[in-house]
């Protein structure tokens, strides 16, 4: 199958995004603004919330919770995943915990955290960490299991230090798994934080959605929802995409010399 050129691919992507927008416009027309407010109405609400000084502080509070949970979850998941991938004993020992963490319904985590720790940021961040950690652990474990033994052997033959082997040989091999899982984990944290805030916090985007939900204000709910979506899209496509591009620059297609 022939892959389309760069211009065609950009056009197809624009069509993809434009079709979502179009469906929103058509849906709003058909259903009426009480059920589904259109883009104009929604973005006007966003502008009003910004002018009132409500949107950005709430967005910042939510972002802080997301970043804290994401950082802790990624770090803990990476360490656990690496340990499980490199040691059969650790893998067997933590297998039960991993399965339990993967299968527990997410909402139960938030409820239990709020009930046991109290309605606090600590409880919310902890529930978010437990939400993403198993996914990160599984991805990194697979990466650690797939490490190229011949490169490790080479490093040992040259008497490299443990730190040097981790930094120069192991970590680069885990990077594809880390970057892939980081994108997924960030998106999951971003989505779950809204649920957590809705259930038990009095600030943040989730709280604002809950607030407008209580007034059956669909425009308010949609305004905060769309803002979250756009922000995540910018982070994912912009920041995470750039990180991925930088991490894999050595894989870029190149011309190879034909002679020895």
């Amino acid at each position: 199958m022939r892959s389309p050129n760069r211009g065609a691919r950009t056009a197809l992507r624009l069509v993809s995004y434009a079709s979502i927008f179009l469906l929103w416009v058509v849906g709003a027309r058909l259903l009426g603004s009480n059920v589904l407010p259109g883009p104009g109405e929604t973005f006007a609400f966003v502008a009003r919330e910004v002018a009132r000084g409500v949107l950005f502080p709430n967005l910042w509070v939510t972002a802080q919770r997301v970043l804290s949970a994401f950082a802790v979850g990624m770090l803990a998941g990476t360490l656990l995943g690496a340990a499980m991938g490199l040691s059969r004993r650790v893998d067997d020992l933590l297998q039960g915990w991993l399965v339990a963490a993967l299968t527990v319904p997410r909402i139960v985590l938030f409820v239990v955290a709020y009930l046991s720790i109290g309605l606090s940021d600590r409880a919310l961040v902890l529930a978010l960490v437990i939400t993403i950690m198993p996914t990160v652990t599984v991805a990194v474990r697979e990466g650690a299991r797939a490490l190229d033994g011949s490169l490790l052997e080479m490093a040992m033959a040259f008497r490299r230090s443990r730190a040097s082997i981790w930094r120069r040989v192991v970590f680069p091999q885990l990077t594809p798994y880390l970057v892939g899982t980081a994108r997924g984990a960030l998106a999951l944290t971003w989505k779950m934080v809204v649920l957590g805030e809705l259930l038990g916090r009095t600030s943040g985007v989730g709280y604002q959605i809950s607030f407008y939900f209580q007034f059956f204000n669909m425009t308010g709910v949609l305004a905060y929802g769309v803002t979250m979506m756009l922000l995540l899209a910018v982070i994912d496509l912009g920041l995470m995409g750039a990180i991925q591009h930088y991490a894999f620059r050595w894989r870029a297609p190149v011309k190879v010399d034909a002679v020895g």
Binding site: S150, L151, E153, M154, A155, M156, A157, F158, R160, S164, R168, V169, P172, T175, W250, R251, V254, K255, V256, D257, A258, V259, G260
Partner: protein, 249 residues
């Protein structure tokens, strides 16, 4: 330069059943300082196992390895594998720097070695931008940049086309005659062994044992001409020794 002495090396591996497969048995090896010794043997006779034990990558079930001498407080060993084993995410220069101590000023050293192996100006390339022969040159440079007292080479040219391999053998000999490190070179190519070695040690099929020694240094002074008929004669002797070691006539 350093002297390498291995005594009674025996190594077995689990073979999936209750028994173990013995890879090498009671191998004694003495490589004099600055000597280039080739070890030849059929596939699976334990050549790589022996080399890994000498490199300290594998510990033997029995026997000892002793390396004495060298230019530093501890003898430096380095290894050229069958495949280049370069870090694909690091540039050529960075691959060479990887084996050096971080605090040293390495730029001049790295550039110098790249020039010596015919890769001047390729330091910023990634390994995948090089041909397989060029990658193996980087692997040779990586092994030599650490100024090894003992250089272990495991069929380093076997994956190359003959033209590239013959060129690299000549280059290796030039570098060795300059550096004069002790070399243990594993190959399954008797002609290669005849061209390179001071001594050829012939191993029998598993469990590997050293069954015969041939001394090209006695018959052929250096530098050797790859087209010299005497090389073919030595090669035929090595093949005959391999056959005898395998119990063939």
């Amino acid at each position: 330069m350093a002297e390498l002495i291995a005594r009674g090396i025996t190594k077995s591996y689990p073979n999936g059943t209750a028994t173990e497969r013995r890879a090498i048995a009671s191998v004694d090896l003495h490589v004099a300082s600055g000597e280039l010794v080739c070890i030849i043997g059929p596939s699976g006779c334990g050549k790589t196992t022996l080399l890994n034990v000498l490199a300290g990558l594998d510990s033997p079930d029995a026997g000892t390895v002793e390396i004495t001498g060298g230019h530093g407080p501890k003898p430096v060993t380095s290894y050229v594998f069958q495949e280049p084993r370069l870090l694909p995410w690091s540039t050529v220069s960075s691959n060479l720097r990887f084996v050096l101590d971080a605090r040293r000023d390495t730029r001049t050293l790295v550039d110098g070695w790249l020039e010596r192996v015919g890769l001047a100006g390729r330091g910023d390339d990634y390994p995948r931008q090089l041909s397989i022969g060029q990658r193996q040159r980087v692997a040779v440079a990586r092994a030599l940049i650490v100024q090894p007292d003992v250089l272990l080479m495991d069929e380093p040219f076997s994956a190359l086309d003959e033209l590239t391999a013959s060129r690299m053998r000549v280059e290796l000999l030039a570098l060795w005659s300059e550096l004069r490190c002790t070399v243990v070179f594993v190959t399954h190519n008797p002609l290669e062994a005849a061209l390179l070695a001071d001594r050829i040690l012939v191993m029998s099929p598993g469990p590997g044992r050293i069954v015969q020694e041939i001394r090209p240094a006695d018959a052929l002074p250096r530098p050797r001409d790859p087209d010299d008929a005497r090389l073919w004669e030595l090669s035929r002797r090595a093949v005959a020794a391999l056959r005898a070691g395998a119990g063939e006539r």
